[in-house]
Symmetry: C2
Subunit: 364 residues, 2 copies
């Protein structure tokens, strides 16, 4: 879809909400909105798309109470603001939107979390992502390094950039709105998403991208929406296998899960954010044991997070049960950079090739 | 100095330390190291360079006690490791170094903070920065956007990149080792260093770089060494005025101070990290008052941080005393994105041009 058509469609869907209010009021009804309830209980696994989505539970908000009337008033103001922004080709951060509401008298937001949630509600009601509203978060997106050519649509015209040849050693930093990117071409056999900057730099320094035709993506901890979106697109558009390489602790397994299965907060857009084909490389608890990695004892928080994962449907596989049970009995966790204890090349010469072969990503 | 000469000099300075130990031992003396004490009390303002440096207080560590002997043993291992790394053109993260020490028996570090401190000690003893030891931190450096052309020396040859034309809308991300950069050319009249990603993106979207010939640098909160180094070099090599634009709270004033005057931790390299000519644009407490910005009440921590700044020699000017006194009496703080309450263009059309004229950076 071209830019103008997309813009028109976004505006049409957005203005559908006040149009509905208008017809409700002309009928003598209270204006209202109906939304899926956004809780863990209302998350279901969708067999077709292999991601977690909202279920059938719904909540009706009718302007009959002061609280709900105010909520609808705020939504009206936000729709008005977004409409202006789209028409004028402007954009703003979620934080700026919160500050802009200062001028909206009773529709002013009390905290940024409230305005963020309302934007997510609008995404659900319109089935359009906030990126199309020209709203962006503070956080940066991922960095990418490797045999991938992209075309970014910037205010100063389109820029074609090769993520290995045309960038410095930190790679190409993707914009907060990945819809502005065209994935032009690639020479890759796989994508590896990496939690820490240190390991990302290690793979680049050791030439792993060239030797194994790998596109390297730096997740920067818990990945931003734009990072998950770009992984989703690399997997879909190029049919590349995606693997996720993190520290060996429960918080890192959650990073993997949010890449592969999506999160509750963004369950309405799991289909475009999650990469169900993404697989976990490590650090696995079996690696901590087999390679005798430098490690730390689990904290009480680690232990309860691991136990919570044992009941999380996203981890309900034999693989994860075995790994998590082993970790609880080892009572240890290791970071990905702990491989350095076996030499700076161990991770790229031994560990990753072995795991990638085992997983069938690397054909022998 | 070319790459090979620099390498030779680094190795020579580094190996000077064990050479001294060797001659001490052949004389029948205990091996020792002498270092400036690295505390707030031993920080002095240097009139010539206009930065804060270590003073004359020194500490002698002699291998007569077990603790000091172990310290010297660890230093010997680290020197051995760095020497190998330099000879083999390898590099590693500070975290990897910490893990590598796992194999050093009694010289193993108990925590990464210990190995980091020892590296800083080596910087002081050798007068060489850790970047020349091929050691890098986890953190990313700044992003830069604007009329600046750089040449980065990468493992895959030199890359010449224009930070406005050859990059996406998030700009060029500088490497952790800024010494690999050559600042080739520019068309700028000023450099603006910006605390938050939201404001950095705002200035790019509004075309502030083009309209005012400004190089925009995203500080990403408390700036990394590489970020401070690049500001220092932009100011020195191109003689460009540098201004710092942050939130209006005591923690942000510290960001400004670390850019302009340096920090205690890195006082041994203030000359190459600090930019004494850097000036503070805002958000000033007077701006909170004059523009009636959306604001929050000061917390107890804010108040004590402001009071501490009143006794900090780096803030011992009439300007800062007035601003801080005003802030304490207003009892308010504001973020830079709070300007959005006056419209998305206010900050670029009104506020910044007015401040830059007032400061003499923008000639009317």
């Amino acid at each position: 879809m071209d830019k103008e058509a997309r813009k028109k469609e976004t505006l049409n869907k957005l203005l559908g909400i006040p149009r509905q209010w208008y017809s409700q009021m002309t009928r003598g009804d209270l204006p209202s909105i109906t939304m899926p309830t956004r809780t863990k209980k209302n998350i279901e696994y969708d067999e077709d798309t292999e991601v977690w989505k909202y279920g059938d539970r719904e909540r009706l908000r009718e302007a009959g109470s002061e609280k709900s009337a105010l909520h609808i008033l705020k939504m009206a103001y936000v729709i008005w603001f977004i409409r202006h922004q789209i028409v004028e080709n402007r954009s703003s951060t979620l934080r700026e939107l919160y500050y802009i509401s200062e001028g909206w008298k009773r529709a002013k937001f009390g905290a940024q979390n409230d305005s963020n949630l309302l934007i997510e509600d609008l995404e659900i009601l319109t089935d359009v992502q906030r990126e199309q509203f020209n709203l962006r978060p503070e956080e940066d997106g991922a960095s990418i390094f490797g045999p991938l050519k992209i075309r970014e649509e910037t205010r100063r015209g389109p820029k074609e950039i090769h993520c290995g040849n045309d960038v410095g050693e930190t790679g190409y930093q993707i914009p907060t709105n990945v819809e502005k990117l065209e994935l032009v071409d690639h020479d890759a056999k796989m994508v590896i998403a990496i939690e820490t900057g240190g390991m990302y730099a290690r793979l680049i320094e050791n030439g792993f991208d060239e030797k194994y035709d790998a596109i390297l993506v730096h997740l920067k901890g818990q990945p931003a929406r734009s990072t998950r979106r770009v992984l989703n697109r690399l997997a879909k558009e190029f049919e590349l296998p995606v693997t996720v390489f993190t520290d060996g602790d429960p918080w890192s397994y959650r990073i993997y899960a949010s890449v592969a299965y999506g999160s509750i907060k963004s369950a309405h857009i799991s289909e475009i954010l999650a990469t169900p084909s993404a697989r976990f490389i490590g650090v696995q608890p079996t690696d901590i044991r087999d390679y005798d990695l430098p490690s730390d004892k689990l904290t009480d928080q680690d232990i309860s997070a691991l136990r919570a994962e044992l009941t999380d449907p996203r981890f309900a596989t034999d693989y994860w049960r075995e790994q998590i049970d082993l970790q609880l009995s080892l009572n240890l966790k290791s970071e990905q950079q702990a491989f350095a204890a076996r030499g700076l090349d161990f991770v790229t010469d031994e560990y990753l090739p072995a795991r990638l072969s085992e997983m069938g990503v690397l054909k022998r």
